[in-house]
Each structure stands twice: as C-alpha cells, then as structure tokens.
C-alpha cells in the first residue's frame, strides 16, 4: 500500500512536477513575451522621444528645475507656395519677381522667431511669439527710367498655447497652437508726377494667422537651444481686389533659449 501509496504519491509528484515544469515553461514564456513587449515598449518609448518611461521621472524632475519664464530666439527657413492670387495679380500688372534667371521661386526663404514663455501649469505654458513670415520684392519696368518696386514683409504677433513633456530636466518635447494678427508692411516706389523722383507709398495690411508648431529643446538650468517646425496659415497681405497672399507655409527654426524665474 505504502509503495502503492508511494507509487501513487510519487506519480502524483511526477504529475505535480510536470505541472510545475509546464508552469515554469508557461511562466518563462509569459516572462519572455512580457520582456519582448517591454522591450518593444521601451523601444517605442525611446523612439517617441521618451513618452512613456520618463514621465514618472519627469514628475520628480521638472524641466529646467521648474523655472517659469523663458525666452526664445530662432532663425531658419520657410517655404511658401510658388504663387498666389496676390502675386498673380502683381504679374497681371506687369511686376516680376526678379532674382535673375537661376532663381527658384519655391526656394526656402529666411525666417525669424522670438518668444516669451510663461509656464502657468505643470506641462503647460503660454507664449507671446512673433515670427517673420514671407517677405518679397517685385519690380516693374516703368518705361520712365527707374523700375517701379513693390516690397512687403509679414510679421505675426501670436498668443500660443504650449503643452510640453519634460523627458529629462534638461530635455523636453512640445506641441503648440497659436492665433493672432499678421501685420504686413508694404512699400510701393513709383513715379506719379512729372518730377523724376519716385514716390514711396507705405501701407500696412492687418490680417490674421493660425499656427501649429512642434519642437524639442535641450537646456541647462538657464540656457539651451531648440529645434522647432510647423505650419502657419496667414492670408496677408491683401490687395484692393481682395486677393490674398499666403505668407505662412512651413517653417523650420533653430534657436537659443533662456530660462529663469521661481518654480511654480
């Protein structure tokens, strides 16, 4: 009996051992699968710029030690469309975007940005931002000597709402959205009297713009740099016929930043 019991018992033990082995295998498989998923998640997190794992650390280590004020100055390039209703009207009236034969009208153009940032909530800030958008200079044969010239440059003054994620206390990624007015100053140089001198006529067109931007920033406690890209929609300037020029378009900026002020 005993042996039978033992046999029975040992059989039981073998079954349990088998179950344990199976459980170990299953557990190992689960662990492996979990590890693979974890690795994938970690890779994904790394790929997304540390969206998942560092968020806990972020709560402990706020970006630039939680200082609430920031300054940003950026330079870069912008892309606008080759033509617009506004520029086609200029062409109708004899103006040319003269840059020589080798100029590509779709080539990127200089952009500037400046901003003041105030962090108002954890991971959320408000900016007052200005951007130089498109600026162009057109010429027309006046038939009177000097060419007629028409030039303009567009500036924005936006309030931007920024949501940011402090991946490390020295590194953050962000997305922002803004609206505000666009001011386009234009100058027309034409000869309108029998005098040989040209007359300069200045005008300011006030329009609007909306912007969506994203970026990343690396910073020590007080100074850093950033990369920012996005898109502006800004139908300004407009002419007397209502034809507008999209002065916005895509932008890519590189800049310097500064941080100061007491933590929240």
């Amino acid at each position: 009996m005993t042996s039978g019991h033992r046999a029975c018992g040992s059989g039981h033990t073998r079954e349990e051992s088998g179950r344990r082995v199976a459980a170990v295998f299953i557990g190992t498989e689960i662990a492996l699968v979990s590890l693979v998923h974890s690795m994938r998640l970690i890779a994904l997190a790394l790929l997304l710029g540390g969206v998942l794992a560092p968020s806990v650390a972020a709560a402990k280590e706020p970006f630039v030690e939680g200082q609430t004020w920031g300054l940003e100055v950026g330079l870069g390039l912008g892309w606008v469309g080759d033509s617009s209703a506004y520029t086609r009207t200029l062409e109708t009236f004899g103006f040319e975007d003269k840059h020589g034969c080798c100029w590509d009208p779709g080539a990127p153009r200089f952009r500037f940005s400046g901003a003041v940032e105030r962090i108002v909530l954890p991971y959320f800030s408000v900016l007052l931002q200005t951007n130089l958008l498109d600026r162009q200079k057109w010429y027309r044969d006046s038939g009177l000597g000097e060419d007629d010239v028409f030039a303009w440059s567009s500036w924005t003054l936006d309030v931007q709402a920024r949501a940011f994620l402090p991946v490390r206390k020295w590194f953050r990624v962000y997305a922002q959205f803004g609206v505000g007015p666009t001011f386009t100053g234009s100058r027309l140089y034409v000869q309108t009297t029998a005098d040989a001198e040209q007359t300069k006529y200045r005008e300011v067109d006030v329009g609007y713009n909306v912007a969506g931007l994203g970026g990343l920033e690396l910073s020590s406690k007080h100074a850093g740099f950033f990369v920012q890209g996005g898109y502006f929609y800004s139908p300004s300037p407009k002419n007397r016929f209502g034809d507008a020029h999209q002065s916005g378009g895509g932008i890519l900026l590189f800049g310097l930043s500064g941080h100061f002020g007491r933590p929240l």
Binding site: T89, T92, G94, S142, N239, R240
Partner: protein, 159 residues
Amino acid sequence: MNRAALLVSLMMCLASVAACETDLVDDPGFQLWCGEELCAWDLEEGEIRKVPTWHTHDYGVDLVGAPVLLSQGARSSASCVRIEVTSKVEAGAMVTVEVDADGDGDVDLTVPVGGSERFVSRVHDVELDVSIEGVFYLRKSGQGEAVVARLRVSEECGW
C-alpha cells in the same frame, strides 16, 4: 549643381541679357498725372479719370463715356511690335489699340481689347514697321466701364 546645369543656367542668363525691349511709348502705366490730365498722353476726345487699381497708388485710366481717344507719338521706330494691355473692360465698351505706323492719319493696325470682369493682361506681337512719326491710339467707342491700367508698346528684338 553639375556642370551641365550650370552651363544651361549661364546660357539662359546670356539669352535674357541678349533679348532687348525698347519702349515705344512713355508712361505705359498711366502713372503720371498733371492735374486731371495724363502728362504723357494726349486726350483728343472724351473724358478720362485717374482711378486706383490693385493698389491705392498704382493708377489706371478710366475711359469715361464714349467716344474717348488717347494718343501718343512713337518714341522710336521699330519693325516688330509687342503690345501689352492690362485692362478691365465691360462687354460693349469696344476698346481698341490702334497704330498709325507712319503718321499719315490712316490707322494701319487695330487690336481689339477683349472684355473681362476683372483685370487681365494680354500680349499681341505684330510685324509692323513703325516710323518715328508713328502714332499709337487708345480708343473707346461703346458705352460701359473700361479701365486700362497699362498699355505698353515695345520693340521686340529678342533672338
């Protein structure tokens, strides 16, 4: 940029320099006003008015009522002529550009300016010997609004 592209660009630059345009009329943009009159054009008949176009200070000439006739003598002679007209003309206004090539009083060429609801620019290239005595006319014969922002007449001698 590779050498071939550079060569093509240089050739295009040279071609653009080589092409020449000699204006045959003064003030093609109707910009010069001496009071209520155009300084460079003679109003032979009818009434005209200075009006803004795409910009408050980029003017055009409004040919008021009908008939209206503006004229200007040729600045130089030419054997091939390009006529560029930028205008907004209502149907029925019947606007034409006319050329008296040798100044004998007979019109040798008439170019109709088509109607349009907004400003459009049209170009006409014609082979015509215009002497220094030649005269160019802008005529409106029918009723309806007609604003001409630009009438450029030039000699085209591009290669």
